[in-house]
């Protein structure tokens, strides 16, 4: 099962995603293993603080963390060598930026690389939860680099939206259902 979770800044989407993953992992027919794919590169005090906050939120929930700043396929390969479980990937907005701007990233092939990685992750996990970000309601359209980033993340979100069984937008902690293939 693939659950895509989106929301704005400070919307509570991470907390919701972690809660859903715990729920899926506790499903009787599933394996209990829980993996967390962290995509945020620690540069500077602010990102370090953010990462520390996310670690605090996850503490005691039994997650095994796999750091993956670029090339999701590698994370999927690592998962393949481990016991199957539920996987939480956070956050697509970071991964897209890393693929575009980091020297180790896929650059012009970022979209294909990410989507191939997502498909691979689906294969190697019981349940896959991906957190992405609503960053599309801005007035800054005069910056071509920003436009490129928005278009790429937008495309990745669209494709994931098609692939997902469930899509939820989290609004100040309130889950607003956007897609449920069972309905």
């Amino acid at each position: 099962m693939f659950h895509l979770i989106t929301g704005g800044s400070g919307s509570g989407k991470s907390e919701y995603a972690e809660q859903k993953l715990m729920e899926y992992a506790s499903h009787s027919k599933r394996n209990k293993k829980r993996y967390y794919i962290a995509t945020m590169m620690p540069f500077g005090k602010e990102t370090e603080k953010k990462i520390a906050r996310h670690r605090r939120l996850r503490a005691g929930k039994g997650f095994e963390t796999i750091e993956c700043y670029t090339d999701l396929k590698k994370a999927a390969e690592v998962l393949q060598t481990k016991e199957t479980g539920s996987v939480l990937l956070e956050c697509m907005s970071n991964l897209v930026a890393n693929e575009m701007y980091d020297p180790s990233g896929a650059g012009g092939n970022a979209e294909e690389s990410i989507l191939a990685g997502i498909r691979k992750l689906q294969k190697v996990s019981d349940d896959l939860v991906v957190v992405t970000n609503e960053v599309f309601s801005d007035s800054m359209t005069d910056n071509p680099e920003m436009e490129k980033y928005l278009k790429l993340l937008g495309n990745v979100n669209l494709r994931m939206g098609e692939m997902a069984d469930l899509v939820t937008e989290v609004v100040y902690g309130i889950p607003v259902e956007r897609k449920d293939i069972k309905k």
């Binding site: 704005g8 800044s9 400070g10 602010e46 960053v135 309601s137 609004v171 100040y172 902690g173």
Partner: protein
């Protein structure tokens, strides 16, 4: 407690006034410090948060403590607030903090609200409470 949220210029306040015709409204942009706890209805709530972060240099804990205090002191308040977290992460550090803390505060308040309505193009959709759930 009720919340009415949405983007800028979506008719949030007009919608809120229609839903709550008999209460007194306070402008969050002009409201100072503890005066917020006297309000029946507050609009531009995000501006109140912004000025408090500026004046009091709120940490995340202080921001959440404020939300808890508001829940305790004003269980019937109606809050109209702009959703400001839907753009690209701003380059300016203060703007980033403002967006983040506003989100944290509003998430705590939404969890304690009886009803949360989201207004787009003047049309309110209840996403929590009311007749929907």
């Amino acid at each position: 407690m009720k919340m009415i949220i949405g983007g800028a210029y979506q008719g949030k306040l007009a919608y809120a006034k229609k839903q709550n015709p008999y209460i007194h409204w306070t402008d969050g942009e002009l409201c100072e410090g503890d005066n917020i706890f006297e309000a029946e209805g507050v609009f531009h709530f995000e501006k109140y948060i912004q000025s408090m972060i500026k004046k009091e240099n709120w940490s995340e804990k202080e921001a959440i403590d404020f939300a808890s205090k508001l829940i305790k002191k004003c269980p019937d308040i109606v809050i109209v607030t702009q959703e400001i977290g839907y753009g690209l992460v701003p380059v300016d550090a203060f703007e980033r903090r403002y967006r983040e803390l506003t989100g944290r505060i509003c998430t705590v308040l939404a969890a304690n609200s009886d009803q949360v309505d989201r207004v787009v193009c003047g049309i309110g959709v209840t996403i929590k409470g009311g007749d929907t759930k």
